[in-house]
Assembly symmetry: C2
Homo-oligomer: 275 residues x 2
Amino acid sequence: MAAITPERLSLNTATTRAQWKLDQAIEGCARHGFGGIAPWRDQLQALGPEKAARQIREAGLAVSGLCRGGWFTAEGALTQNVLDDNRRAVDEAVTIGAECLVMVVGGLAPGSRDLESARAMIEEGLAKTLDYARTVDMKIAIEPLHPMYAADRAAVNTMRQALDICDRLGDGIGVAADVYHIWWDPEVRDQIARAGKKRLMAFHLCDWLVPTTDMLNDRGMMGDGVIDIAGLRGAVEAEGFSGLNEVEIFSQENWWKRDPDEVMRVIIERAGSVC
Amino acid sequence: MAAITPERLSLNTATTRAQWKLDQAIEGCARHGFGGIAPWRDQLQALGPEKAARQIREAGLAVSGLCRGGWFTAEGALTQNVLDDNRRAVDEAVTIGAECLVMVVGGLAPGSRDLESARAMIEEGLAKTLDYARTVDMKIAIEPLHPMYAADRAAVNTMRQALDICDRLGDGIGVAADVYHIWWDPEVRDQIARAGKKRLMAFHLCDWLVPTTDMLNDRGMMGDGVIDIAGLRGAVEAEGFSGLNEVEIFSQENWWKRDPDEVMRVIIERAGSVC
C-alpha cells in the first residue's frame, strides 16, 4: 500500500477551526499541497458558498465532502424546517462540487428515551433528503458516529446499521467511514467489505487517545493513539475506495491551540508514516 | 411488568465504594431490605472472602455476581500470572456463593494497536478460566463494555460479540448485561433474545447522563439519564431472566459524595418508579 502523499489528503476544516476561517483554510491547503478540503457549513455560510466555490476551484482543490446535513431529530419531529435545512445543505454541496454531503443524523429527540423512534425519524429524513439529492446528483453519506454519541449527536452508530439503511433506501446513499467512530467494531472489516466501493463515499482520519479526556474534543493526531489506521485504510482501498484521506481532528487542548501551519506539516508527516 | 421491590435489588459495591467498606455495605443492604449484593474483589480481599461469605449469609443476602475477573491482556500475553488470578477469582466467587463471576476482559495489550490479537488472547483466557470454573460449578459472565472502553478496559464491546464467544465456548458461560454498555446498540433486543435465559447471567442498572462529563466515573442514577431501563428489563425478563437487578453506579462527583443511606433510599425509589 502506497504511503499517503499530500495530494491524497483533504483537510476537514474542523481540524483548524479555532485558527483559520474558510478562506485561510483554502489557502493553507493550497500552500501545503493538499489535494482537497472538506468545509463545515457554518464556515461555508460565513464566506458565502459561491465565493467559497470559486476560491476552492482557483486553488485547485477537490472537495471530499460537506459537513454536514442531518440532525433530523433536533425538533422532536421531522419538521419542514429540518427538511428544508437539509435541502439547503444539498444545494451547498452541489455549489462547492462536494463528493458527498456528510450526514450527522441526530440523537434522541429532546426529552425522549425512545431510540427506536429517533431512528425511524432519521431514516425518514434521510429518505426525503435523498429524494431531493438524487435530482441534483449529490451523494448522501451517512456518518455512523461512535456509540458514545448515540444520545446527543447521532443514533446511527455502526457501519452495519448505516448500511442496513442504505440497503433499504437504494442508490445515491452510502457511508462516511471515520476511523474514530468505527475502529472498535468487531465487524468493521466485514462491513467495509459489504459497503464496497459504491457505498464508501468518504474516509476520515484521526486517532483515539488513551486516555481520552473529553468525549467530543479530545481526538488525536494520527499516530498518537491506538487506532490501526493503516489497516483500516487498507480495508477501504481493497474495496476500490479512491477518494481523499480526510483529516478531521477536534482537539480543544492541543491541535486547536497550535500554529495551523505546524498542524498541516504534522498531518503530512503522520499521513506519510503511520497511515 | 411488576415494579422492582427492594428484595429484587442487589447493590454492586462500586456504587458506594467511596463511603462503605464491604462489611458496611453488607449491613447497608440488610438494613434497606435489598435482596443481594455484588462485591468487588479488592473489597472482598480486604475483608477476607470467608469472613465476607459468613456475613453475607447471616445478612440473608444473595450474591448476584463477583466483580471481576478478566484483564487477560494486561501483561501483553496470556501469562500464568493472569490465569492464576482468574482462577483465584473463580474460587472467591464460589466461596461467597456468587451467581456468576463477571468478566471485564481487558483492552488492547500495552503498547499495541492490534485489536484482533487482543480479542484472540481474551477468548483463550476465557476458555481456560471456563475450563476451571466448570469443575467448581461457577458460571462465567462476560460483560460487554461500551465501545468507548475498547482500548483500555474491554475489547468485547457488544452483546453479539460476547454471545459469539459463548457459542464457541459452550456451556457455563454467558453475559452480564449492563444497560450502560448496551443501551445504544441497534441490535440489543435481538441479542437479548438470542442470549435467552441460559446466557443471561446478570443484569446491571444505572443511567447514561447527557452530557457525560467523565468517561468512567460519571454514570447516572436510574431516571436521571436517557436509557429506557424499563424496556431493557422487560426484554431480559421476557427471556426468563429472574436474577436480581444489580445497581452499579460510578459517580465521582455526585453519588460517591452523598450519604450512602440516602443513595440506598434513592435507588429503592427509582427502581420502583422508573425501572
